[in-house]
Symmetry: C2
Subunit: 446 residues, 2 copies
Amino acid sequence: MPSAHITFDQTGDKIAGRIRKMRPSAVRSLFAAAVRPDIISLSGGMPDVSLLPEESIRDATRAAIEDERAVALQYGGTDGRLETRQVVCGLMRDLGVRCKPDEVMLTTGAQSALDLIAKTFIDPGDIVLAEGPTYLGALQAFSAYEPDVRCIPFDDEGMRMDLLEAELERIGKGNPRLKFCYVIPNFQNPGGVTMVPERRKRLLELSHEYGFMVVEDDPYGRLRYDGGHMIPLKALDARVVYLGTISKIFAPGLRTGWIVAPKDVLARINLAKQGTDLCGSSFDQIVVEHYFTDTPWERTLQRFLSVYRERRDAMLGALDEFFPPEARWTHPEGGLFVWVTLPDYVDTGSMLGAALDAGVTYVPGDSFYPDGVTGRNCMRINFSYETPENIVEAVRRLAKVIEERLELYRVFIAAGAIKAPEEAEASENATACANSDGSAPVDQSR
Amino acid sequence: MPSAHITFDQTGDKIAGRIRKMRPSAVRSLFAAAVRPDIISLSGGMPDVSLLPEESIRDATRAAIEDERAVALQYGGTDGRLETRQVVCGLMRDLGVRCKPDEVMLTTGAQSALDLIAKTFIDPGDIVLAEGPTYLGALQAFSAYEPDVRCIPFDDEGMRMDLLEAELERIGKGNPRLKFCYVIPNFQNPGGVTMVPERRKRLLELSHEYGFMVVEDDPYGRLRYDGGHMIPLKALDARVVYLGTISKIFAPGLRTGWIVAPKDVLARINLAKQGTDLCGSSFDQIVVEHYFTDTPWERTLQRFLSVYRERRDAMLGALDEFFPPEARWTHPEGGLFVWVTLPDYVDTGSMLGAALDAGVTYVPGDSFYPDGVTGRNCMRINFSYETPENIVEAVRRLAKVIEERLELYRVFIAAGAIKAPEEAEASENATACANSDGSAPVDQSR
Ligand SMILES: Cc1ncc(COP(=O)(O)O)c(C=O)c1O
Ligand SMILES: Cc1ncc(COP(=O)(O)O)c(C=O)c1O
């Protein structure tokens, strides 16, 4: 190159503000480094696809390979294949939601639905309400559009409506910056908690009163191990934007999710989607269509449920048996995750190295908050992927790592260097899981 | 709802600025309305997937359904499956580009690569250079991030380097707002023209001199019907960000494209991708891997080439035979499209209704410019999808529609209401295909 040429670090110089602010996740790097075969992972959110019958996969893929090959291999419409959207309408009907195919858009997993909704609605600085903690992938999707995410704590009955109202008071009625409230009402990720019917009703009332949209993300609604089905927000209010996915009831590898929304909303999202991916995989959409029409998928789902129920029970049993008295955790009736809260002085991020050494992984709690600070004393542990035996062993290992930390702190406490947990509980909790208003946190343990 | 509640049009009120600016395409609506079976479409950009052998599809899908089922159905890595990235490295090697799997990221079609690159690099107001006209989908992808797209006209040797330099002079060296130049060097969409080697070299020199990235989009490089292969920009400069796709050499329904870029660039794009879709379809990536390893894909590509060559020849022949002397058009050596330029006083957008009535579709030229105005007297016509007989018939119909328009204008011209084309040519062309500097347009006809 002639020396007159400007030299520059193209990456550093050219990166957009939205990406410059994103930090590569330390956790991801740690996990990438940990490839020992004896490590038991409680950190993922993967379904156990080995439970899917061979025969079902063959039957589901047949049409894409034989009769409808030409369609399967060609570009499809931006909204997705009509027949697959019809199948989605059937799945929604089971949950109590009536919708027509033109109120359904297929997306590359619910993840891309989150991106499209953020792209369609969020201008930089706009306010988005969400549970805190909430789904890490939603925070990542939203953050590209630079919103001000306000987290509302939950308790065992879901998002706290009193705290939501207090936040809305501060925001004000009809505030044009307030765009939507993102909720995962069933077996929340990472919390495992479910929003009770009265709060669902109240959330919808507040949405009309204050003028915000409700985005209901429901990947886990069908993964219920005890108790009865709860009516989706979407069934109570036609304006709700509902997100579904096959990832936890069939196969995430086929990357098929959907948005159910009023037609005028979908028309706007369609504009965003054209530039994002033109259309989804026709092949995968045909496979999904046929999985839910040509195979005994409900029997397969029952199999998922009984396996996951057993694993959840193994995890809750092991937590009771091995975890120290200072720890609290949620008792999910479904889904894939338990949320554990440790004393405030434990930092689960810095503890992860020791856990890896002990042969177990989890996700540190601060990953699930937009500030990357709150939730440091918490962790998410998954029970869908490992065998009950492995889960028990993993919890045992984890308990030992935590116990060692607590020992260390007990020494400090004895020496008067930090406050004892009993004294600290009220105030320290408040900072650890605090909302922006410093409101008191919530006992997530039952 | 209690009457105290605020009523509002959620869609209208809540939409982000980037989407508010996008208009639903009038063309799309027109096409949606046109469902008559006798219409011959020259408007699409679809490969003819009926040319793919049944046996190849069966062989390519076998692994995903049998041996690697568990992987095919599960979440994959954000960058895509290693084995498929290795296959991409092989495909790139054929084109003269050496790369390693960790310099490759798989995307949901090249379309999503365009979105991810825009998301990673464009802040509102940043400058992006592109050919004018350029790929509509790229303009849609970029527009969500609100850049200032500057179009550089091309001639039969590709983007005009003199006009690019003039634009760069105005922008200035090392201007931090200048992010990248987006080019489709081979059989450009919609132009059909190919950038000659000297201009490729010059573009790279300018990129170093002025400090911008080069994004090379190459879906058509392998669809060459005459002449010899041209070395990709990526082979000449390792910093180039290269986009590839299987859409035109295999099957767009499997939505698999890729980015080849330096590792530091991919690391940033990876951050954007996590929030956009978590990962691509593992199933589709396995099918793609096996298509390019277990099937005689090069023989199948030869079949595509000979069929498309025949169709291109049919189109160019029919244009010569039927089109009026006032029309000019490009003579592509590959790809899928011919770009037609009519006299300035013809508006191909308003002519589309008459064309639909006559049973033929095309894409009006203004779709390919960010201002939605330039290119009004142009159109893109496709030759990959219809039979030679249909193509000839479609061009005949289209010629008649154009002829009627010209007749009308000839009457106006005779009456002195508008200038005769011969007088107007120089000045009117300049406005019709003008760059932002009003530079003279280019004869795209050979
Ligand atoms: C709450 C929530 N929403 C969305 C997703 C994304 O799912 P998909 O695989 O459909 O993209 C997940 C995945 O874990 C999730 O937990
Ligand atoms: C120039 C160009 N880039 C990218 C694309 C998108 O291709 P894909 O199907 O891989 O998303 C196209 C499709 O027509 C194209 O013409």
